[in-house]
């Protein structure tokens, strides 16, 4: 909702004899603080709605009852006393009451040593065990959560965790239960925390003032912040790009714990991955030496039983689905960096010389920094001499980016996720936001709480759907029909924004023609949403004063992905919802640097900043900058490169931090393709499934071990800072890339990532003016016209678009069925996706103790009625088969997945989802259809699971 300007009146009062004037509505506590008077608090935190329950902050306002200063607002003429014997006695008795049953050992005090109750006890001279009160029998411990320890006997019922859970994260897990002294915090219906709906975001433990909710030890023992080294950095996981302060034990070379850090985007909030998923970097499976494949292991092929696909051939030794190093390591021998780098450069050069540059290709990664991404594409373009460079963004938002570039001339978001707070209506389409962009989801939930109307459109009833005013559960792959029908209604009922269409768009007539036949009644038959509901939603959206559209992979990962995105863009243009507060287009980016990796040029048809490789002027610019002739031919995309490997068109590959074996569609084909490569170099921190096919494996550095910039889903460029040193002989990725380039005869030399960033920003107008220095501490949005003072431009395109005509273009789409439809043999629809606790191919999250403990096992989800028909109980194994392959894994009953559908997370190597998917592509975005394959489900024998 639009914030309404209210003129704030001033209020004058005296506090401890000093006159003070504050804006109306200021609390006494706040006013006193401005005067430098500190009133002790326990239940108050400026981030939370004041509730005034602990009564520690009471002051005398001359009434019968002492007032809680944290909630009581100042009033004209009020005379407040904050210090007196009476008040001191009151605070002391209160502390005494709380201390009388306080556990002898506060978990907070013995770990981070910031127990606020003990601080007060010291201040008021209250000694534990000296109380005249009879000691009671304490309330119990609850150690059921892998990340948060609960000690009910240390709980003072300050309500902070409840508000943090309900009002910051909107998870509504914690409440009070019981009455009187029996009052306790309870999880759900008073379940153990670990068995509740708690999502382990840790917000509660971060606000708890006592030893009641504390973080458990994940690496080295927890110690006070002052005894550790603090590094202000970022979360290594999703595109929300939360800011984090890591507390490091330098001797152990490990992160001990993480705190959310204040910044305009994430505002100190974190999810379970960011707060507890930091320990993967010290996993014993880290690669520490370059590895070269032994002679005996040629011809190349998969090494581990999982990757071979030999199901049931061998019992898994360890649970948790990690690569069994005993199985794969014998195939490699350790080598010196010199030997390994010479071999890589030599073999790549040899292939280039015999088969031409276009026989080489490289995969960068959206996990890499902007600097690494920039250097990597430079390596491929300048040293390999080809544009065959791509990365996993191809698999998540390529269709969105393609559609955005085509229609509005820019592939990035037009507004930040946080601006949803200003939106009258928010539309979330095909995004499981609470799982995949958890912290962004908290801001959507905030907005709903403050009056924004939320529309969620999805085939599954995702977590965010629970917060929606309108949830439309559509048939999978029926998006175009639905959005066309909404637009048909808007045009028919004349709800469109004529001024906006006239001033800022083109192609309206064509759109009108196409959508004309999409009546709500016609759409109802395709998408399974009633015509009335379609009309209602169209009206709600069109009448909104401001509307913001979020979308995720439910939109993009289809053979019609670009069409789906075009429709959403048209919706925004039709209603004039771009370029103002609370409006915009926001495809939620998956990995931490999806935006940046594309910005930096890891795209086969574009140089950095989306400058076309086919444009001669651009080519000349980069040839000049890089000092070498460049290939004008656009390169191949991810899936095309894999296909090329199979047909021998591609012979040599270099992969930096990518794991296509698990991430790319149609694994059986990927397996053959990887094995067919003449030469494969994999640079990574673990020996991944893909690395089993490598000739050379180069040990790289994890996120925590390097400094670089990352661009989040909001276009916010932020600095991730080195917190740990790399293990063994592992090296920084950018240094490795430079060495390979040099050895291939193309000189590359930099002193630091700052220098690389400088070179990149000089070539990328959107990043102009940004430096590592001016990006600290909380980054800036690109474009940023005044980098020394400004935060960058939040809302883009208020006055036209960066297209040739300056207008946004309506590109109409016709509904098309998905590539592979269910039939009698394969009757179910397979939909792949992600879980809150895991990320991408699980290489990091499954090596995180906490995340693995919470979600250790591969599973798929189906509707309970389908399971009943198949005679399968929840938790039992099922056999999933498509035309390409089959896997066996446990199934969980869930009504979130509609009947006739199977939802399958793709993080689990022991049950790789992409064995099942097909590799038909969206013709425009070249993205595969991960969200729709035809699948057969059968009950499996327990033994084979």
């Amino acid at each position: 909702m639009q914030a309404t300007e209210t003129t704030t009146r001033a209020t004058s009062l005296t506090i401890d004899g000093t006159d003070v004037t504050v804006p109306e509505g200021t609390t006494i506590w706040e006013a006193a603080r401005q005067l430098g008077i500190e009133i002790p608090v326990l239940c108050h935190d400026p981030r939370l709605r004041p509730v005034g329950v602990c009564r520690m902050c009471v002051v005398d306002v001359g009434e019968r009852v002492l007032a809680a200063s944290c909630v009581r607002q100042c009033a004209d003429g009020m005379s407040v006393v904050t210090q007196s014997d009476k008040l001191d006695r009151c605070r002391a008795t209160l502390t005494g009451l709380l201390m009388s049953d306080y556990p002898d050992e506060s978990r907070r005090q013995v770990t981070t040593a910031d127990d606020q109750l003990l601080e007060l006890a010291e201040r008021y001279g209250i000694e534990r065990g000296k109380s005249a009160l009879p000691r009671g029998n304490g309330r119990p411990d609850d150690l059921s959560s892998p990340v948060i320890a609960v000690d009910h006997s240390a709980c003072i019922l300050c309500d902070k965790c409840i508000r943090a859970c309900n009002e910051i994260q909107h998870n509504d897990v914690i409440g009070r239960t019981g009455k009187g002294y029996g009052t306790r915090i309870g999880f759900d219906l008073d379940n153990p925390m670990g068995q509740s709906t708690c999502v382990a975001c840790g917000e509660c433990a971060s606000v708890c003032p006592t030893g009641a909710l504390t973080n458990v030890q994940l690496t080295a023992p927890l110690r006070p912040r002052s005894a550790l080294t603090s590094v202000d950095s970022l979360c290594p996981y999703c595109g929300v790009g939360c800011t984090i302060t890591y507390h490091i034990d330098p001797e152990e070379n490990t992160v001990v714990y993480a705190d959310g850090r204040e910044s305009p985007g994430s505002q100190e909030r974190l999810c379970v991955k960011g707060r507890y998923g930091f320990d993967y970097s010290r996993h014993p499976q880290r690669l520490t030496m370059p590895l070269i494949r032994r002679e005996e292991f040629y011809p190349k092929g998969a090494l581990s039983s999982d990757v071979r696909g030999a199901r049931g051939a061998r019992r898994r030794k360890k649970p948790g689905g990690l690569v069994d190093y005993d199985e794969v390591m014998p195939a490699f021998r350790e080598a010196s960096w010199d030997e390994a780098l010479d071999l890589v450069a030599g073999r790549l050069k040899e292939i280039k010389d015999t088969h031409g540059s276009s026989a080489l290709a490289g995969f960068g990664s959206a996990k890499c920094s902007n600097e690494e991404a920039y250097l990597f594409q430079k390596l491929v373009r300048a040293a390999f001499g080809t544009n065959n460079v791509d990365h996993c963004t191809r698999l998540c938002h390529a269709s969105s980016v393609a559609a955005l570039l085509e229609t509005i001339g820019s592939g990035a978001v037009t507004n930040t996720f946080g601006d949803v707070g200003n939106a009258d209506v928010a539309l979330v389409a095909g995004s499981n936001t609470t799982a995949n962009h958890p912290v962004a989801a908290t801001f959507i939930k905030d907005a709903v709480h403050n009056g924004t109307t939320l529309i969620v459109i999805d085939a599954r009833e995702t977590g965010i759907a629970r917060h929606a005013h309108h949830f439309l559960q559509i048939e999978p792959s029926s998006d175009v029909a639905l959005y066309n029908a909404m637009m048909q209604v808007m045009i028919e009922e004349d709800l469109v924004n004529h001024d906006y269409i006239r001033d800022f768009t083109e192609g309206f007539e064509e759109l009108r023609e196409v959508v004309r036949s999409y009546t709500p009644e016609a759409a109802e038959r395709v998408c399974g949403v009633s015509a009335d509901k379609i009309r209602e939603i169209a009206r709600v959206f069109a009448r909104a004063k401001s509307a913001l559209i979020f979308w995720g992979m439910g939109i993009s990962q289809h053979t019609t992905g670009a069409d789906n995105a075009r429709c959403l863009i048209s919706l925004a243009l039709l209603t004039g919802n771009v370029g103002r507060p609370g409006t915009g287009l926001h495809p939620l980016r998956g990995q931490n640097n999806v935006q940046g990796a594309s910005d930096a040029g890891l795209i086969p048809m574009m140089y950095p900043d989306y400058q076309s490789v086919a444009d001669e002027k651009v080519q000349a610019k980069f040839e000049k900058a890089w000092g070498i002739p460049l290939d004008p031919k656009p390169g191949l995309t991810v899936v095309e490169i894999i296909g090329g490997a199979l047909s021998k068109e591609i012979r040599g590959m270099y992969m930096m931090g990518e794991n296509p074996f698990l991430s790319d569609p149609n694994t059986n084909k990927v397996r053959k393709a990887l094995a067919a490569l003449d030469f494969l170099c994999v640079q990574d921190i673990f020996l991944t499934e893909t690395a089993e096919f490598a000739d050379v494996i180069l040990p790289a550095s994890s996120f925590f071990e390097k400094t670089g910039t990352f661009t989040n889903t909001d276009r916010r460029v932020q600095v991730g800072r080195k917190a740990l040193s790399s293990p063994g002989e592992a090296r920084l990725d950018w240094e490795i890339v430079c060495d390979v380039a040099r050895r291939m005869g193309y000189p590359m030399a930099y002193d630091s990532t700052e220098e690389i960033f400088e070179e990149f920003t000089a070539l990328a107008p959107s990043y102009a003016g940004l430096t590592h220095e001016n990006l600290q501490p909380t980054g800036k949005l690109w474009p940023c016209p005044d980098p020394e003072t400004g935060d960058g431009i939040q809302i883009l395109f208020g006055d036209g678009f960066p297209t040739p005509s300056g207008r946004g273009k309506f590109v109409a789409a016709q509904h098309q069925p998905p590539a592979e439809l269910p039939d009698a043999e394969y009757p179910f629809v397979l939909n792949t996706g992600r879980l809150l606790e895991h990320w991408h191919t699980g290489t990091m999250t499954r090596r995180s103790r906490a995340l693995d403990a919470i979600q250790p096992q591969a599973f798929c989800e189906m509707h309970p009625e389908d399971l009943a028909e198949l005679g399968v109980e929840t938790g039992e194994p099922v056999h999933l088969a498509t035309r390409r392959g089959s896997i066996v894994l446990a199934v969980r009953a869930s009504t979130a997945t509609p009947r006739g559908n199977v939802f399958l997370p793709f993080h689990f190597r022991e049950a790789p989802a992409n064995i099942l998917t097909h590799d038909k592509l969206d013709p425009f975005g070249k993205i595969p259809e991960f969200k729709f394959s035809a699948v057969k489900v059968e009950k499996a024998e327990a033994a084979s699971a």
Partner: protein
């Protein structure tokens, strides 16, 4: 048919028809002059005029706090841009109090009339009767009355052609004393835990569902029809300047004739105890009397010659409270009695405020320790210290209420404490 123990010295306005089963029916009520007041108020009086006559009558809230009812109504916003609500507090859970139950079970339409007129006066479109869930015998009676009132057009759209519409919902409580506290009640009504809210904002500004709301006790509302019919001066003929009219006292404990009596507010407490209630059981003396429900200070036997008005009982050292009188004779050990009461509060504290949650628990624990012979002399100042910290500092007054009997019993019956402490110490020495 005589209502149990009715007495000629009562002034029976509210209780006139107690005991008459026909009065519970709509027809029976109309025969007794029922709904005339509704006709008068809705038919010929403006909202302001209704508030005015209630103000004139001097009626003070009968739920415990004694806040002037007319004044409370006048705090409601005058404009109707937001919905207004009237919530009738029928949660009656104060130990020793059972007078609202009598009103509802014998004269449900008397209450409905009050609700309709009250709602009209404050511009409410919806009235809730929040009734104590344990009142299993009363609830059907009230429900039937509501159904009948709807069917006869006293509730619903366009009541009696006046253009005024009112919906009324009977909402059952689920067994928490704190739901009787008005803002706890509003939370409970909204489906939340019955946790009292911080005031300000007061319900008139932000009450049920965030809207302007008035909460009134059953007795406060039930007497309104009589005031509307007969005028403010008529009501003032009883009682005193500051305490006009009559009040129901539900009397229990060590009495010959316990029951609910309606007396003019200037009636003498001693007369109520000895004359109406028949005095203590044979051969016993009164030791202590709590005149207004367990939340008010205890009076000792020599303090009973007092006027039952707000100011009279205050002068005597206690309060009118809810009018739930509890008499205790000389067989009572005050430590036992107070421990029982404090345990009630410890059990019923909503648990929000530290003082109340921890203080009631510790006080009960110390009292138990004394009773069991483990007491120490320092326990007396400790109890007083905890009580001092419990009073006047919390979100609602449950905490104050729990402290009141502790403090007054220590002041007035310290011997009982000392005897138990001495006995315990003696026993400890002996073993």
């Amino acid at each position: 048919m005589a209502y149990p123990h009715s007495h000629p010295r009562e002034t029976r306005i509210l209780s006139e028809h107690f005991g008459e089963i026909e009065a519970t029916t709509l027809d029976g009520w109309i025969e007794r002059g029922g709904y005339k007041a509704v006709e008068k108020a809705l038919g010929s009086m403006s909202r302001e005029q209704v508030i005015e006559v209630v103000k004139e009558s001097g009626l003070r809230g009968r739920g415990g706090a004694g806040f002037p009812t007319g004044l409370k109504w006048s705090f409601m916003p005058k404009d109707d841009t937001l919905p207004h609500y009237l919530v009738c507090n029928a949660d009656e859970s104060e130990p020793g109090t059972f007078k609202d139950r009598e009103i509802m079970r014998w004269t449900p339409h008397q209450l409905l009339e009050g609700c309709i007129i009250g709602s009209y006066a404050i511009g409410a479109s919806h009235c809730y009767i929040y009734i104590r869930g344990e009142f299993v015998d009363v609830i059907p009676v009230v429900n039937q009355a509501v159904v009948d009132a709807y069917s006869r057009g006293y509730l619903g759209r366009d009541i009696l052609g006046s253009g005024y519409s009112l919906e009324l919902t009977v909402h059952l409580g689920a067994g928490a004393y704190i739901a009787g506290e008005e803002t706890g009640m509003l939370n409970s009504l909204e489906g939340r835990r019955a946790e009292p809210r911080i005031k300000p904002p007061f319900p008139a500004a932000k009450g049920a569902f965030g809207m302007p709301t008035t909460v009134n006790n059953v007795e406060s509302l039930a007497v309104v029809p009589h005031i509307v019919t007969n005028g403010g001066d008529w009501y003032r003929q009883w009682g005193t300047e500051k305490s006009s009219g009559t009040k129901l006292f539900s009397c229990c404990g060590h009495l010959q004739k316990p029951g609910t009596y309606e007396i003019a507010m200037d009636f003498n407490l001693k007369d109520l105890l000895y004359d109406l209630c028949g005095g203590p059981p044979e051969g016993r003396e009164f030791k202590a009397v709590i005149p207004g429900g367990s939340s008010v200070p205890i009076l000792a036997a020599d303090e009973l010659d007092a006027e039952c008005s707000y100011e009279g009982l205050e002068a005597a050292g206690s309060m009118v409270g809810s009018g739930g009188l509890i008499a205790m004779d000389d067989s009572t050990n005050m430590v036992h009695a107070v421990r029982r009461m404090v345990e009630f509060y410890a059990h019923e504290s909503c648990g929000q405020c530290t003082q109340c949650r921890e203080g009631t628990y510790w006080a009960a624990k110390i009292l138990r320790r004394i009773e069991r012979g483990g007491g120490r002399e320092e326990d007396i100042p400790l109890l007083l210290d905890i009580s001092a910290n419990m009073a006047g500092k919390t979100i609602c007054v449950l905490s104050d209420s729990a402290a009141a009997p502790i403090v007054s019993s220590i002041q007035k019956f310290q011997d009982d404490y000392m005897a138990l402490i001495a006995k315990g110490q003696h026993a400890a020495v002996g073993t």
